[in-house]
Each structure stands twice: as structure tokens, then as C-alpha cells.
Symmetry: C2
Subunit: 357 residues, 2 copies
């Protein structure tokens, strides 16, 4: 049976890094006879430029029909002044919500070969391997009412709504506990239950979910403390689960602990395990078009996609092994450049992974 992958290069460095990832996908497709087909579509700022919408209907239709989606990145200063409703980010948010990709898995792993790249002391981050499970289709990102209104005194007031119901919390909780079962069997749920009612409910429901997983330990931590603990002693965590907004902040902080956010893939899954895969980093407009961006997070996103959505574990393993081998050979893109290693281009890094495969 043919599997269909939709490729969405997006903006900034997106097209460059996705090009290398697609070469890798093609290579394992042949090597492992996976019967994968792929086509491309527009999303984000480039889609807006072409069609007036950051998520054209044809793209959404193709995304709904696909078995998996590979995304580069969206956004850039060029589109910063646009109305919120057509900004590149709306393309990404629209995909997440229309496909109900509620479960965002963001691993923060320190590659031993890149230990130097971290701004933290080696003993604090050596062997770091945490997984942040972020709720992706609810919370303050999508809550209504929202907007900017004019008050009676003529002043403007901006407002957003942070809202979660029980089912939304329960399903992301289950994602986190399922993931923890495959790992260290510990879930730390992050809230601000000493101030925000919505997170009091969050904490309650997590307790309920925990009863379904007696083999997994549940603890709770306040978000401000979590931000501190990630800096102080990140290895204390196994799986962290949290809402959309806190997850956005904490997963980026966690990724940066490794010093090599250019290495980190992510998965956004729906209830059937179909998903969208993308690097944790953004569209890096400052280096777009220069051919120096790191394609490895996107290549590793292909591995995640093969493992979670395309039932091709061996191919996923092969890609991850190839990436590790390339690092062992001392090849580095500029973002992870290091003394004694060779700094290579986006394309050359792609070549090297293909050669290692």
C-alpha cells in the first residue's frame, strides 16, 4: 500500500532544509522499499504571497488526505506587519487545529558529540534526555473570546482566553503517560495552580489520568519553578506534560539547554497517530538562502515520521544512525561549529547523511 507524505517547505530556511530531508526520505524509501510517495504544497508566508492565504484550501485538503506531513518552518519579518488572521503562523496553527494534532512531542536530547555546544556545564547536561509533551490545539492559543476592543473611555484593551476542558486535558495526559511508559516511567505535569483556575482543573485531571497508569509516577511542578529547574538540573525530568503556552516556552528553553536546537525534531500527532513532523527551530530568516542552515533536525523529523506514522522503524533507525555517524566524522553546520571539526553547508550535510545511509 502506498503511503502519501505531504511536504510543506514553508518560509525562510524551510525550503533548504526540507530539500535535504526529502533526499534522505527518497533514499530510505528505495533502500527499504517503503512505497512512499510525496508531493509538496504551500504554507505560511510563501503561501500568502502566492495565494493570499497562509493555509490555502488545496494545502489543507492535501494535508487531510496525507498519511504524514513534513514541515520546514514558517514566518519571517517580511510578514510581521500583516493582520493576525493571515500571518504565516496562522498556516501552522490552522494545520494543527484542522487536523486535531493535539499532542506535540518535543524531545530535548544532548548528542554526546555536541556536548560542547551547550551553554550549560557538561555535568549538568551530559546524557540529557527529556521529552516535553505539549498540548497543541487548545489553551490560550485557540481560546475565545479574543481580540482588541475599545473601552468606554476610548482606550484599547487586548484580551485572550486560557481555557481547557476535561477531555482536552485527559487526552494529552494519556499521551504523556503512554510516552513515559516507553521511557523512564515518570511524568511531571506543569501548572500554575496557585494562581490560575484553568490549571487547577489541569492538575486534577492529571491525577485522574494517573490512576490509569499505576506503573508511571506523576509529580506536579509550578511553571515558574519548572523554568528554574530546567536551568538548574534538567536531568531530573523524564516526561514533562503541559499546556500550549507553557509548553511553547518550556520546550524552547529545554531545547536550548542542549545548545543544538538545530538537531531537534518534533512530532504533532492526532488521536489516530497521524501527524506532522517538523524541526523544533524556526525559519531563521537571517540565514535563509545562504545554504548554511542545519538540515539535521528536519532529517531527524523524517525519522520520527517513519517511526510514528509510517510504521517503518528500521528506516527510522537507519537515519538516526547515519546522523550519528556524520557527527562522529566531525562534520558540523555553522550553528554547531566547533574547534577541530569541519564546518559544512546544508547541502554537504545532506550529502554526508546520504553517504552514511
Amino acid at each position: 500500500m502506498t503511503k502519501n507524505v505531504l511536504v510543506l517547505p514553508g518560509d525562510g530556511i524551510g525550503p533548504e532544509i526540507v530539500a535535504q530531508a526529502v533526499r534522505v526520505l527518497d533514499a530510505v524509501n528505495e533502500q527499504f522499499s517503503l512505497n512512499i510517495q510525496h508531493e509538496s504544497a504551500l504554507v505560511g508566508g510563501s503561501a500568502y504571497d502566492e495565494t493570499g492565504s497562509p493555509l490555502p484550501e488545496t494545502t489543507l485538503a492535501k494535508a487531510k488526505a496525507a498519511d504524514a506531513i513534513l514541515l520546514g518552518a514558517v514566518g519571517g519579518p517580511k510578514w510581521d506587519k500583516l493582520d493576525m488572521s493571515v500571518r504565516p503562523e496562522k498556516g501552522l496553527l490552522g494545520l494543527r487545529s484542522n487536523l486535531e494534532l493535539f499532542s506535540n512531542l518535543r524531545p530535548a536530547i544532548l548528542y554526546p558529540q555536541l556536548a560542547d555546544a551547550s551553554s550549560l556545564k557538561p555535568e549538568i547536561v551530559a546524557g540529557l534526555d527529556i521529552l516535553i509533551v505539549r498540548e497543541l490545539t487548545g489553551g490560550i492559543y485557540f481560546g475565545q473570546p479574543r481580540g482588541i476592543r475599545i473601552l468606554e473611555n476610548g482606550e484599547r484593551e487586548g484580551f485572550n482566553t486560557y481555557v481547557y476542558n476535561e477531555s482536552e486535558i485527559r487526552r494529552i495526559g494519556r499521551s504523556a503517560f503512554e510516552a513515559a511508559r516507553q521511557r523512564g516511567k515518570r511524568v511531571c505535569s506543569i501548572d500554575k495552580s496557585n494562581v490560575l483556575e484553568v490549571t487547577v482543573l489541569w492538575k486534577d485531571v492529571m491525577e485522574e489520568v494517573a490512576k490509569e497508569y499505576p506503573d508511571v509516577e506523576l509529580t506536579h511542578m509550578l511553571v515558574d519553578n519548572a523554568a528554574m529547574q530546567l536551568v538548574r538540573a534538567p536531568k531530573q525530568f523524564d516526561v514533562m506534560v503541559t499546556g500550549n503556552m507553557f509548553g511553547d516556552i518550556l520546550s524552547d528553553a529545554a531545547a536550548m539547554l542542549t545548545g543544538s536546537i538545530g538537531m531537534l525534531p518534533s512530532a504533532s500527532l492526532n488521536a489516530e497517530g497521524r501527524g506532522m513532523y517538523e524541526p523544533c527551530h524556526g525559519s531563521a530568516p537571517d540565514i535563509a538562502g545562504k545554504g548554511i542552515a542545519n538540515p539535521l533536525a528536519t532529517i531527524l523529523s523524517v525519522a520520527m515520521m517513519l517511526r510514528y506514522s509510517l510504521d517503518a522503524k528500521e528506516a527510522a533507525d537507519a537515519i538516526e544512525a547515519a546522523v550519528s555517524q556524520v557527527l562522529d566524522l566531525g562534520l558540523r553546520t555553522a550553528d554547531i561549529a566547533s574547534k577541530g571539526c569541519e564546518t559544512v553547508s546544508t547541502q554537504a550535510m545532506g550529502d554526508a547523511v546520504l553517504a552514511a545511509l
Copy 2:
């Protein structure tokens, strides 16, 4: 003219650390003939235990009448199961909002003597000196509507409202720009303007405020990126200004970069410069009553209080110099213990500061 200071020891280690800070206040009061009087009152969990309210009316009345307030810390597991409306934190939040202490100044400074305590590499944090200006009486902490309701299908739903009007943003903006004028003349405003309308308004108003301060540079950063940049290269910042929730998270992360959150004071000011002063750290219930907590953040909060609210700059300088001298002598409480230094008790640390004065 007599100046009145209200002392609020609070919960956990609060009473222990405040006791040392009050000794220091008494000493400079005499030494510099400051004519300061002080009295104590209950707040937080200990107030709840005694009176049924985390912010008794007598405490609030005294707080309103005082020239400045010195607070220890509030909260602890003992009160975690209480209804939100009477939790210890409500005492703190009630003081902030009733006294309109909208401007929270949280310096994150690395003491050269404590450079080792940081989990970050020395070159990343050496000389770190940033100031986080956090809006403290608005945003999602106080927004209405809020609560937990039952939906038609019987499920619970939790909700909070993230709201700011122009005047609220403008006054905290001015606080930040004023502070920047006394420092590096750079303000970085933190928002999530690619997703949240309330922070689109935030960003707009910051731009307007910037026009009043042509000598200060304004930049903007998304909150997820800010969390990363604090980990990657914190010295790029001078003053960061942000809302209540983002400020809670980022200021704790920033404080932890120094590795010695037990050293960091904070000020919460109203429009007239009257204020409440407290350590950045919490009530640390796990070590309460053991006599090992670090009193220096509270002692340095006294210095901040003298400088900002009591017009006693010399006394403030003297306290800061005394603290620095004690560190030079190699005295450390357990939280900042280090090889080759003497680990001392809360009381002994207080003694040492008094001796140095």
C-alpha cells in the same frame, strides 16, 4: 520625620530570614540615624491559620499606612488543598493589587564571588547584570472572567482571562524605560504577538512609550525565543519588560542563571514609589525551621527598600558593601556552599553582615 516599615515574615523560611534582615535594618537605622520604625503583621498561610484569611484586614490597613513593606515569603504544602480564595498566595496577590504595586523589579546579577554556583558555563554568565521589569497587578493573574464551570455535557472547563488595557501597559513601559535610563539604555519587550492579541496591543503601546525615551533603545522578542536566549546568551539583555505571567516565568529562569537565587532581592512599586520588598526565592518549606536558609536576598531587599522607598541611599550602599565583604570572607549558607568556603547558618550569616557593617 519617622518612616514606618511593615514587616511581614510570612511562611516557611520567611520568619528566619526576615529576622536577620530586621537586625540589619535596625543596625543601619541607628548608624545612619534614619528614624525608621517597624512593626510586624501576619500574611499568607500563617495568617490564615490564625485568622482564617491570608490577608487580614489589620494587615492590609497597616500595609496601606506604611512607607515600605518588607516581606519574607508565603505558601507551603500545608495549605495546598485550601480553596484558591484563601490560599497563602492570595495574601501576596491581595497586597500587590490593593496597593497597586504594578511595577516589579527583579534584578538578576551574578556575584563574582559566586560564579561557580551557576549551572551555566562561566563565560556565559560572568558579569551578568539584567533587570526584569514585570507587570504585577494585571494580566492573567487578575483577569475576569475566571473559574471552573460545568459544561452542558457535564464536563468541567477551566478558564482564565489574559487582559491588558493601554494605561496598564503604558505605566509599566515607563517603569522599564526609566530603569533603563539608569543602566544600559536598552529595553527588550517580551510578547507573543504572533499568537496573542493582548500582546499585539502590548507591543504597540511599548512602541508608543519608546517615543518618550529617544535615548533608550527598544527591541521586541517573542517569549519562547526569550526563554531560549536567556539560556543561550543572557548577557545580551539590559532591561526586559513583560506581563505578569511571562514575567513570573522568565524572572525565575533569569534568577536561576546566577545559580544563587538565594541572593536576589526584588521590589514591587506603585506610582508613588512606595513599595514592597522581598527575596526572589520562595518559602522553601523543605528547609523551614532548620536555621540554614540564606538571609542575604532578604537583607539585600532591605537595601533596595532603603534606596527606592526610604531615601537612604548611603545605608543601602553600606548594606550591599557588607554583603559583598561577607562573601569575600568566604562565608556561605548551604544553598551557595562551595569548596574552600565555610558553610554557616542563617543566624551566623546575619551576624557576619552586622559585623561587616
